[in-house]
Structure formats: C-alpha cells, structure tokens
Symmetry: D2
Subunit: 293 residues, 4 copies
Amino acid sequence: MKVSLEALNTSEKAEFTRLLDGLFEAAPWVAEKSFSSRPFATVASLHDAMMAAVRGRPRLDQIAFVSCHPDLAGKAARAGAMAAASVAEQAGLGLDQLSDDEFRRFEGLNSDYRQKFGFPFVICVRRQTRDAVLDAFERRLRNDVDAELAAALEEIGHITRLRLVDRVDGAGAPVVAGRLSTHVLDTYHGRPAAGVTIELFEVGQSARALLTQAVTNRDGRPERPLIVDRPLRIGTYELVFHVGDYFRNSGVTRDARPFLDVVPVRFGISEPEGHYHVPLVATPWSYSIYRGS
Amino acid sequence: MKVSLEALNTSEKAEFTRLLDGLFEAAPWVAEKSFSSRPFATVASLHDAMMAAVRGRPRLDQIAFVSCHPDLAGKAARAGAMAAASVAEQAGLGLDQLSDDEFRRFEGLNSDYRQKFGFPFVICVRRQTRDAVLDAFERRLRNDVDAELAAALEEIGHITRLRLVDRVDGAGAPVVAGRLSTHVLDTYHGRPAAGVTIELFEVGQSARALLTQAVTNRDGRPERPLIVDRPLRIGTYELVFHVGDYFRNSGVTRDARPFLDVVPVRFGISEPEGHYHVPLVATPWSYSIYRGS
Amino acid sequence: MKVSLEALNTSEKAEFTRLLDGLFEAAPWVAEKSFSSRPFATVASLHDAMMAAVRGRPRLDQIAFVSCHPDLAGKAARAGAMAAASVAEQAGLGLDQLSDDEFRRFEGLNSDYRQKFGFPFVICVRRQTRDAVLDAFERRLRNDVDAELAAALEEIGHITRLRLVDRVDGAGAPVVAGRLSTHVLDTYHGRPAAGVTIELFEVGQSARALLTQAVTNRDGRPERPLIVDRPLRIGTYELVFHVGDYFRNSGVTRDARPFLDVVPVRFGISEPEGHYHVPLVATPWSYSIYRGS
Amino acid sequence: MKVSLEALNTSEKAEFTRLLDGLFEAAPWVAEKSFSSRPFATVASLHDAMMAAVRGRPRLDQIAFVSCHPDLAGKAARAGAMAAASVAEQAGLGLDQLSDDEFRRFEGLNSDYRQKFGFPFVICVRRQTRDAVLDAFERRLRNDVDAELAAALEEIGHITRLRLVDRVDGAGAPVVAGRLSTHVLDTYHGRPAAGVTIELFEVGQSARALLTQAVTNRDGRPERPLIVDRPLRIGTYELVFHVGDYFRNSGVTRDARPFLDVVPVRFGISEPEGHYHVPLVATPWSYSIYRGS
C-alpha cells in the first residue's frame, strides 16, 4: 500500500524516515536530511530534496554511498543478499537468470569496473534492456572517476525516482513513464488500416524477444499504446506490421508472394521517458515511417 | 562455346538436331520437329517453334515427355544419374546438399506428387529460391491433372529458354534476366547518400543468407545493380541499409543508439524477369521505400 | 432559443406542428404526419419520421412539394420573397451578392432546369462551395426526371437535418458536421513542427478565398481543427504551409530561396460530414502528405 | 559560327583579340592580357585566365571596367545603345518589355545603386528569373562597396562564361547548364505512372507563367528533362501534376471531385548549374516529393 504525501508531510521525523526506508540503498540519512525541507508541495520536490541531500555530501561520502549498491547480476544476487527492491528490478531484466557465459561476462565487467573505480557499477535497470546495460557498462568503463561518480549519482536519481513513485501517492509525481504507440494508415484506400496485426520485438545482439502483439482498431490504432505507464527501456526494437495479410483480406492482392508482406521497422529508443509514436503509412507497393507525435 | 543462330539456320537437319541436343530433356524430336520452321529470325522465335512442337503433341505424348524429367532433389541426383544441365541447375539452389530432413521432405513431396499425377514435379529452379520451390510444390499438389500438365509445360518453357540463351548467340534473344537495384536519397541534406553500406539477404522460413553487399557511390547507387543478367529467384528478400553509420559519418547524429540505425526492408519477388528498383528515402528520423523504376 | 425533444414529445399536435414550422419549406403537413410516430427517442429518429412522411407521398405530391422551394440565387432572393432559413443559407454562400454575370449564369441554369424538370433546382447549399453548386447544377441537368426527383429529396433531407439540429435539443442528434484538421511533423529534427503558419484557401475556378489561418502549437497542430462543428463544403481547398519560415527560424536554412518555402497542398472534399486529416511530414528537401485519421 | 579553341591557341595576338571581341564588355585588354597564357588546354582554363586578368587589375581599374556595363532594363536598352549580347540577354528575361511601372521600379533601383556604388548594377540575367533579379537588386543594395565590387565581378564571370561557351568550341567547356527533371511513380499499382500531364510554371510575386508542358512516358518520365542545356534561372517554380486525370483514366477513381486532382509542387531553384530531380510518388490519397538525383 502506498503512503500519501500528506502523511509524509505531517509525520514525526522517525516515522518519516521509516516510511522512506530502503528507497535509497542502505542510506537512512538521505531521508533524515530532507526532513527539514518539509512540507513538500509535490512528490517531485520530495525527490529533489533527497537528491540534493546526496549531492551536498563530500565526495568521499558519495563514494561510500555508491559503494553500498549491489553488483549487477553479481554474487549478491545469486546468494540472495540483496535488498528487495534491487532483487525485483534486476529480475525484471532477467539478470537473475543468466547463462553461465553471461554470468561470467557480467562478473568480468563488474570486476574490471570495481578495480578501476573502487565502487560498483550502478545503473537504473528499469530504464534499460539487457543489451543497453552491457553497452553502458563498456562505455562507462572508459570514463574517468569524476565523470563516473556523476553518472552513478544520475542513475541513483533514476532508480529512486521510480521507487518513490511506486511508494508515495500525491500531487506532482515526477515523470517516470514513457509511451510507445503506433498507427497504420492505408493510402491505397485513403483510410485507417483496421485489423492489422502488429508485433513488437526487443532486438538484442544475440536474440530477439516478442514483447507484445496487437491488432489495429477502426481508427488504425491498437486499443492502447504498446508500452505505457513505465519507462521505455533503452534499446533496439522492431515493430512488425502484417500488411500483406491486411491487403489480402481487403481483396487488394491475391499474390502468393506480394511485394510487401511482413514489414519490419527497426528503431532505437534512447529516452525512457519520451513519447515515441511510430506510424506506418502503406500501400501494397510502398510505405513510410517516421517518428511522429 | 556458343553456337550462332546463323549456324543453326544453315546446317543440315542432323547437325541442327545435334547442336540442340539436351536442350529438351531426352526429347530430340523437339529439335527435329522445329527444323522445318527454319530460318529463325530471332532466338526467341526458335524457342517459340520448339515449344509449339511440344504443345502440338497429343496429351499422352506430353505426359511421357514430362515423365522423362528427373525428380527434384531426388534419388537420381544422389545417384549421379541426371543430365548435366539439370545437375548444374539443381546444384545452383543447393538441392544437391540437403540435410537428411530436407531430403526426406523432398522425397515425400516427390512421392505424393508422382502418386497423384503419374509424372515428376518439374519446375525451373533457376527462377526460384529453395523456399519458393517448396511453396510451389505444396501449392501445385492441389491442382488437377490438366492444370498441372499445363504448369509443367510452362516450367519446361522457362527451363529451355534459359538453356537456349546460354547456348545460342544471335539476334532477338528472349528476355530471361531480371534486375534488382536500389538508390539511397538523403532528404536531411537534400542529396544522394554516398557511402551507405547495403546488404541483400535471401530470407527463408528457417534461415537467411547474405547474397551480396555494396556501398553507394556519389549518386547514391551501388556501382552496379544488386542482381542483374539472370532471373531474379522468386522469394523473399531483405535489403539492409546502414543509415545510422551514414548519418554518424556525416556528423548529423552522435547518439550511441540513434532512432534509425540499421534499416531492414523486406520484400517479395514474384517476377523473375522483372525490374525491381527499391529506393530508400531517409532522414535520421524517417524513411520511405517503394517499388520504383 | 432551441426547443427540447422532450417538449416536442409531450406537446399537443398544434403546438408540435407550430414548433417545427418552416423546417420543411411551405409544408406543415410533414410535421403533422410525423406526429403519430411520437415519442421520438432521438432527434435523428424525428428527422427520419419526417423524411418518411415525404417519401410516402405519391410522386405528384412530391413534385408539388419540391416545387415550393425557391430558386437558387434567383429572383425571389433579389426580391426578398424567400423564407428566412433559405435567405440565411443562400447568403452563407454569397449567393445574394453575385455579379451580374454570375446572376445571369444562375438564371440560365435555373431556367433550363425548370424547363426540363418542371420544378426548381434544390440543393443543400450549406454543404457546398459556390463552385460545387455550379458543378452539381450542370451535372444534375443531365439526369432524367426520376433520378432528379430522388436527388432533390435527398438534398431536402440534408437541408432539413441541418435545420433540425439548429432548432431542437436532445439525445441522438444526427451527424451534420465534418472536421478538417492538420498536423506538421518535422523529420529533420524528429519532432512536431511548432510555430508553422498554415493558411486554408477555398479554390474556385475563377478565384481563391482565404478561409482561415492558424499556427501550430508544440504538438505540431493548430489549437483547434481548421473546420469543425459544421458540414465541410464540397469543394476544392488548398492548405499552404510556411515551412521555409519554420526551418529558417530553426536555424536549419539561411538560403534566401530555399528548395521548399511555401508548400501548397491542394485537395478535394466530397464528404461534408467526413473527417479529413491532412498532415504534412517535411524536411527542408522533401515532404509527404496523405489523408490521415 | 563558333571558333575553335585550336584556332585561338594558334592565331596571332591581333586575331586572338578580335576573335574574343565583345566577350568582356568594352574591354579588349582582357583578351590581350590572357594571350600570353596560351595554349589553353580547355575552354574553362581560357575563361579562368581572362578572369584572372580582371582580378589582377587595381581596384580603380576594376571599377572603371564594371562601369562600362549597361544598366539593367535602363535607358540604354530603350534607346538601343547597348551591346548585342547584352540586348539578347536582357530580352531573354523580358526586360525589354517592362510596363511603365516596372520600368520606373528598375530606374529607381538603378539610380539608388549608382548613387551608392558609383557603378551600374551587374547581374548575369541568363541565370535569373525577373523576380530573382529584383530580389538580388534589393539585397545587394545593402552591401558595402567592397562586397559589391566582388559580387559584380562574380556576375561578370557568369556572364562571360556563358558567352564563351556560346562562341568557342573545344575540350573542357566550363559547366554552364543545369537540369530540371521529374518522374512520377504510382504506388497504388506499384509502377511508373504513364500518361500524366505535367506543367511547369515560373511563379513570380505578381504573376505565373507556363514554361513548358509534358506527358510522362511508360517509364513515368517526360521524354526529356523539363529544362536542360542552359542555366536554371534562380527563382520559384511550380510543377503541376495532373494525377486526378491519371487515376481516373486507370479506372481507380470515378469521383467527380477526388481527394487529389491537380497536385502543385512549389520549389525554389538557387543553383543554376545544379541538377534538380523532383519526383512525385503518388496514390489517389497521398503523395510525397523530394529533391532526388
């Protein structure tokens, strides 16, 4: 059950700290420090106050704070020694079910990273695909310590913002969700294309996974956005539009092997809180796609 | 070495028949019958005359004639008992290197087909991908005998037209080649996109194979068509355009994961002698493709 | 002030007839006949009942009924001898302000029409541009009497449906309004184009008239549809998008004479109650438009 | 009759100068100075040498040289006191047939310009529409003297390059011609659109003029480029594609007022020696255009 912003604004300090327990990994002092900034007009300003408390600490304290975070896909996860929220977050990406090879790759990266920076690699996994985590890992290994400490705090901001929205109800919640939507226009008939099957895949370097499937309604849109109410994971995706079946069903083509049948549209997502509208405008002989709005 | 149409037009009957030996599988009478129609103004009219000789025969003779053709990917192929031209043609599609499973699938189809129609399945493999052969096999198994005899003669027309063009030089060669070409326009800068890497894949139900790779020149085109001077095999293809690299190299995007990176364009080819021009018109945020000319 | 459907459903016959007076030109019997079908669940079913009363009359009565309608842009209009609703409707199209030449053209058409059919030309002018009225006039002059009587009743249906919606409040109003909207996408930057000036013109054979002007908001759309809450007049239109200014203001082009500056998009409207969404997807070097949704 | 580069390379100095007489307005010294650079491998290098002679002169001499040029649409033109080449060039733009108002506008600009700079306004009219000349006149009036002297010499380079190509035959002619072409693709049927009427207009601020008209062939192209073998005049143009008739003739639409009928595509040309390919890709409900190649 969620706690209300009102309750946080009116509770005693001990209660306030208890209610926000675990939001910042092993750091009750973050809640304590922000207590004096009450009342908070919005959930976003509560989060801002907590992050300001973190950013106001001396560099060594920040490093100590980052150091309390668990390794990604690390021994702690396998050994069951990780905070509940972290367990759920890492599981969401399948990091609890790596093959032995993948486990070893993560172990190697974790070990290189710790050796270079002295603290564990922190990333908000709810905003990432598994491929994007590996990319970021390798890219950030090339940073210097200062840039990397800044990157870690930035990621902790994302992690805790998401946790806060999960736990606190109230006005002015920070934006943590993106949206992916689509739309199919049939410019052979000059109308929305109804009844088109659409699949959404996540495309990794070694595998692809079907995320969801939908059929367009009379307005040429799936009944709801393909992804909504959560961050879009940074990564590469493919929308697959079954326009061959659509034009066959409309009696336009009878060809066993039409020019266009299954239309794949591959695109990258780099803004987890962004709105991505990716419409398809098609005839049996042409199509166009663009990032729309 | 090719024989000239002139030589065919002026030789004795025996020589004429010898020069065309093997063009029609085990049927020297086809050449003999067409001898009386000499002289031939064009290579195409020579082929027409030979096909007219076939079509002029009684139905049972036609069936006997079709029956002389080898099974596709059959025991004859494995046993080395097939005419040289057929061997080369079936090998071009990899039908001489089937896995045991695939071999059994072809054996099953061959056997069902023979049982239903009493003659072997004939198809011009030089106009087909392996997937298209299997599709056609299953589709044609649903024909009645008359439709199927007509289909077999049609395919023999394709087979022999290609063989004739390989063997005879002269005016008015029949059209046996198609063309697949592409072109990349960059509508961010309003100019042809030079230096774009393009890959062409054949997409089968179970596998995909890289057919060729090219880089666009200053006019946004590969130096030569992707396929030219031979029939386009009926099948499904994917052109993959590396527009992410192109826009990165032009200094337009620096994003590690741009919206568009690798753009796959999947399309079917059903006219082996057709011209397929499949241009891509792209910005970092949009693209369109169409069957052009 | 509007009358409520409820009031119509509960009033005496005389009152019912009085409340609907003038809806059908000089034909109080239409309201009287439909009185017996009360109560009406929807405004649309009231209109259906009245039209059924008209369609249920013998042919000669229907002709007499059509004959009570005024000429378009005729002497009655100039002489001030026309019903109030007709006066307003014809004025909406500028038919009360014709040049002498145009007046003569209408007089000629009215006279040819009356001579051929024996009744006046009836058309729902609120659904037409002036050009479309002239087109329809000339096209319908080629009908035979039966087709033309049907066409006249059809148009009377449109006229009275619009009048009914103006006068009666209640559930289930018939659809009498269309919508014209637009949207500008900037695929150079991959975002909606904000601040684009758009003009909408009606394009006649001899003249063009600016209907409205708008500027796109942050979502790339005018704050409201360009036409809404009334029928779209059948006719030819031009949307003019000032994309040159937009890209100049975004710092993309500095050219005094860019490739694209003022982009005209000309289109026809033939469904007055339809939704026409005409988006523009543009870069400085390309654009596409389509009938969207 | 043209003189050959060979003849220029081998003639005496007096003959050389005579053969190039009038190329540079009232400046035989330009030819004389470049005589010593013979032989010229290309026509372009001859022109380069002559321009180098001009650019090598002291500033005051350059001003005197520019001053020998006639006013644009000035009294000299009306009085018949202008060199033959200038007469023909100005006439090509209709500058010899201005209305009295236009004549006064040019007179005003000429007079303002002379007052500010002390020399006449020089522009290569063969590379300009009338509108572009007026634009350039007003824009260049805002220059300082140095920028304007440079602009005048640049224009004299264009003028004399065109005259040289008209008068001298030989290898390596400088590029003085642009090309405007188009192409119509029908993505309703997936084929080139044959039989589409296309009109090309020059669009001025106050008027539009039909430049040429063409019909597409089986490949969807006019038989020849719309403009070729001469500079494209800087200006604004409109291509008008009659796609409504095309789709009506193909039996696709029967609507008296289709969504798309006459499609205007307006664009600017700013590179007189450029290649502008402006294809239209259309269905009855959509189209796209871009600067192609």
